[in-house]
Amino acid sequence: MRFKDSEHLVRLAFVFAAGLVLFLAVRHAIVPKGFGELGHYRPGALKDIAALPVKFAGRTTCEACHDEVAKVKNEGKHAGLSCEVCHGPAAAHTQDPTEHAVNKPDPKVLCVRCHEADPARPKSFPQVVSKDHAGDVSCAECHKPHSPKL
């Protein structure tokens, strides 16, 4: 026979084959399913991130139930505002309105957040120096937040 001293080659081939199998097994175990399908990342991450819970319901959802107050707001100066600007995230409220109430903010704190005079604000935006404008009187005494024009 020509390769009569080939036993060491067979043994070597066996070691290589075992190494390859081990490598493929480890690779299969640690590389996530579908990795590389869309790019150098796990495509399942897109679904995971898209499935995160929503906290802000959106104004159309609010207006579906609160159509009367929405009508007042949408005819006034605050028409462009979403309800959740002032009332906070309301997705939980839409699921269970009795269990989860929305914020009813204090006008004295909330109104000045946007309307306190600040040189950095655009000149056309309505703003007042609240101390001079009203002293300690709450904004809501004169202006109704849903339709603030006097």
Binding site: G39, D48, A50, F56, L81, A117
Partner: protein, 251 residues
């Protein structure tokens, strides 16, 4: 009967034209197909944002809403607002402040009465050629097919290379999970047909979500008719947050 090559081509042509006409007629009768959130197709969108600096009043409601929507820990920001004050003799040296990212609003400052002063909202620019994605050694951060830069938090090893790579400072290491976190452009909302939390609450509509692949999106008119810039254009990151009327002092 022998069908000539000419006849076969004519018949095929008529069939194609008629089936096209039938499809148009069907769409006319049934209206536009309504987008089904269950059938969101990433390839049909290319997301970005437009910001009108002249409309931003610095109320910080966007920062607050972002934190509430995404559970951002205190002291960390996926979006924040900077107040610029530029003295007319020092246009290259703006005074910038951002107390708590603008989350609680800005205290009124009157010590530079003659300075040019304005607010600049910032967030991840969702770059098309993101330096952060190129830096990630494990493939945990990526550009989605619809143009949003995301982090796979189950895969991130917390090495922080991407935080260093981002030229806009938009990433942070979440101290609770020791993995990187950043603006997802509210991916869980935009894939359901909602706008991002910051856009939802912006009282002056300074921020607008933009779908650059949608020919009906107002973003196209916005880009055409205004002076629009991105931050650090010389870095060629393909940034997709477009600022209208941005002062050259903004970095």
């Amino acid at each position: 009967m022998e069908v000539t090559r000419r006849e076969a081509l004519e018949t095929a042509g008529k069939f194609i034209i008629l089936s096209g006409a039938a499809r148009v007629a069907f769409n006319e009768l049934h209206g536009e197909p309504v987008a089904d959130p269950e059938k969101y197709t990433a390839a049909e969108h290319w997301w970005g944002m437009t910001i009108d600096i002249d409309k931003c009043i610095g109320c910080g409601k966007c920062v607050e809403a972002c934190a509430a929507e995404n559970g951002v820990p205190d002291g960390y920001f996926r979006t924040w607002i900077e107040r610029y004050r530029v003295a007319d003799n020092e246009p290259d040296n703006p005074h910038v402040d951002s107390p708590n990212g603008g989350k609680d609003g800005f205290p009124v400052l009157n010590d530079m009465p003659d300075a040019k002063s304005f607010f600049v909202p910032k967030l991840c620019n969702h770059c098309a050629d993101s330096p952060c994605v190129q830096a990630c050694p494990v493939g945990a951060t990526f550009e989605s097919p619809d143009g949003v830069v995301l982090v796979d938090q189950t895969y991130c090893i917390g090495c922080r290379y991407c935080i260093q790579a981002c030229p806009y400072g938009c990433r942070y290491l979440d101290p609770r999970k020791n993995v990187v976190d950043k603006c997802t452009l509210c991916y869980h909302r935009i894939t359901k047909g909602l706008v991002t939390a910051c856009v939802e609450v912006c009282p002056t509509s300074s921020r607008q979500l933009a779908d650059l692949k949608n020919p009906k999106d107002p973003v196209h008119k916005f880009m055409r008719e205004n002076h629009v810039e991105v931050l650090k254009p010389h870095l060629a990151t393909g940034a997709k947050v477009f600022y209208k009327d941005m002062d050259e002092a903004v970095r």
